[in-house]
């Protein structure tokens, strides 16, 4: 982990007009909903900040040539990659928590707030999902140039949802839906914490989540270590 690299990525994202506009848009939309709904969380958008902040986290540095200058310094490639992942995950987690807090406050001010416990649990789930999706995006970014990681992620997500849709047409095709769900689970590792309030989170779910995140990061490091950084090597 390298604090200089983490800080640099967050600053860079904060100074990118396109990314800031997208963050603001996806921030305001759920808050507007919060005025009418019990909480501000939207089920299918909880890792959108990861995609906005993380797109091209490694690939853009490779394409622009910035990575060459950076790796001429005493920085290990693994250190660089983990720092990029952490920066994206931390930035997204901050936005997720802020959104949940503001959503709750707005809903409370309008007198239709839900219980604080479940809202807090869902916010924590969102944070864990942010870290998981950031790891998946880091994996894609380590082998795709530019914003190719985002394109691959979106296409893979679409593929997973298509499978789920197709699988739901006939009972005999249930296995297709299962494939889609498993694939989606790999793309957006989640940990269901709602059980933490009751019987407790299953060990299998915890291991599954952390193994997916670890595997993605490990593969990303291996791929980045094998990459040759020269326009002559393309």
């Amino acid at each position: 982990m390298n604090l200089t690299l983490i800080r640099a990525l967050l600053l860079q994202r904060m100074l990118s007009p396109v990314r800031i506009c997208l963050v603001v848009a996806f921030f305001l939309f759920p808050l507007m909903l919060a005025a009418f709904e019990a909480d501000a969380r939207m089920a299918n958008m909880d890792y959108v900040f990861v995609l906005i902040l993380g797109a091209g986290m490694v690939g853009q540095d490779v394409t622009s040539g910035v990575l060459q200058g950076l790796l001429a310094r005493p920085v290990r490639r693994s250190e660089y990659l983990v720092s990029r992942w952490l920066a994206v995950a931390l930035g997204s987690a901050f936005l997720t928590l802020l959104l949940a807090a503001l959503g709750y406050l707005i809903a409370a001010a309008r007198g239709n707030a839900a219980d604080l416990g479940p809202v807090a649990v869902r916010a924590c789930e969102g944070v864990l999902t942010d870290f998981g999706v950031a790891a998946v995006l880091a994996f894609f970014s380590s082998w795709m140039n530019g914003l190719g990681d985002l394109a691959v992620f979106l296409m893979a997500s679409l593929g997973a949802q298509l499978c789920e849709g197709i699988g739901s047409i006939k009972p005999a095709w249930e296995w297709v839906a299962r494939v889609g769900r498993e694939f989606d689970g790999c793309l957006s590792p989640r940990l269901d914490l709602t059980q933490a309030l009751g019987p407790g989170v299953s060990a299998f779910a915890v291991v599954s989540y952390f193994s997916t995140v670890t595997l993605c990061l490990a593969l990303a490091i291996v791929i980045l270590n094998r990459r040759e950084l020269s326009y002559a090597s393309g």
Partner: protein
């Protein structure tokens, strides 16, 4: 100094039988390259487009993995963190974080180089001044920099932390004449302080002025290594101009050339050209001409030493192109791997 001796010496750079191919071995960018760069030396790498110069630099910096051979920088592998901590690098295709200000960028690089935080701002300001950039320029965002200013900033970041090894890829590309003079002065100072510099450039005049030795790279191989330091004997054509209207007897010119160990190439109105084998012969020729009563007013080298050597080498060995394995696809029309404009 032998390659082994240079590599074993502290701070020396040793390259042994370095081979690097691209496209699954179809393009041989470097073919058994061996070099020994002694500590404190300014070593130039020149050659035509596609010769493999940038690939060589990429291997020296640990960006590319050689297929075979060995590189030792101060006895360590090029991607060793200790080597990187002692390395400054100015890439040819300068890609800076354009959203930062110049000073922010230097502070950022300072932090990445793991230099002491206590001196960060002072070091950044000093590096900026070292390359002739005003403090106001340091407060400006890099995206507003001109090409020459970018190059200066790139040089400033390469100089942070007083590196022991400096790798410069086309360092004066796009730099104004004042910047070129500054670059020469900086390089002279660095050389005086024992920094080992590897300079890759197409600007032969600059290479000739600053380098101690230069390697001619062609088709992925080191064709020759020339010594350019003072006292080196390099053949060139000397053009001598005489006072207007003065007689220019051919026999006297030829005799003076013979006495000096030179050769009369041509004689025309108010000027003559001589082939001289080196500095000493040039001095003898001028003395002989003046002794013969010829009113010499100017003597200039027709080409730079290096330019002449380069042209001789290029003329004698055909067109430049990377060596290809049998059955390999043809080159793209412009450029080739390892050089600007080359294959992606």
């Amino acid at each position: 100094m032998s390659p082994a001796a240079a590599g074993d010496a502290p701070d020396g750079i040793l390259v042994e039988s370095l081979t690097k191919t691209f496209r699954a071995g179809q393009v041989r960018a470097l073919d058994r390259v061996s070099l020994a760069i002694v500590p404190g030396e300014v070593f130039g790498v020149i050659g035509p487009n596609g010769a493999g110069k940038t690939t060589l630099l990429g291997c020296l910096l640990g960006f590319l993995r050689p297929d075979a051979g060995r590189i030792a920088i101060g006895g360590r592998a090029p991607d060793d963190l200790a080597v990187r901590a002692a390395t400054g690098y100015l890439p040819e295709r300068l890609s800076l974080d354009r959203w930062m200000t110049g000073l922010d960028y230097l502070r950022y690089q300072h932090a990445l180089a793991r230099l002491p935080a206590a001196t960060r701002s002072a070091d950044a300001a000093q590096a900026l001044a070292q390359v002739g950039l005003e403090p106001a320029a340091g407060r400006r965002r890099i995206r507003r920099y001109s090409r020459g200013m970018l190059q200066r900033l790139g040089l400033a970041q390469a100089l942070l932390g007083r590196p022991r090894y400096l790798f410069l890829d086309e360092p004066v590309s796009g730099v104004d004449p004042e910047g070129v003079l500054l670059f020469r002065r900086l390089l002279s100072e660095l050389k005086g302080s024992g920094v080992t510099v590897v300079l890759n450039s197409h600007q032969l005049e600059q290479v000739e002025r600053v380098c101690d030795r230069v390697a001619f790279v062609r088709q992925g191989q080191v064709d020759s290594i020339e010594t350019l330091a003072a006292g080196a004997e390099l053949s060139r054509v000397l053009r001598v101009r005489v006072a207007a209207g003065a007689p220019l007897p051919g026999e006297a010119l030829a005799a003076a050339a013979r006495d000096a160990g030179a050769e009369l190439v041509s004689a025309g109105a108010a000027q003559a050209s001589f082939q001289v084998p080196g500095d000493a012969a040039a001095a003898r020729l001028l003395r002989a001409l003046i002794a013969a009563g010829i009113p010499v007013v100017e003597a200039t080298a027709e080409q730079g030493r290096l330019e002449r050597l380069f042209m001789e080498a290029a003329g004698g060995r055909g067109a430049a192109a990377p060596t290809r394995a049998p059955g390999a696809p043809p080159d793209r029309p412009a450029g080739s791997p390892g050089e600007p404009g080359g294959a992606p």
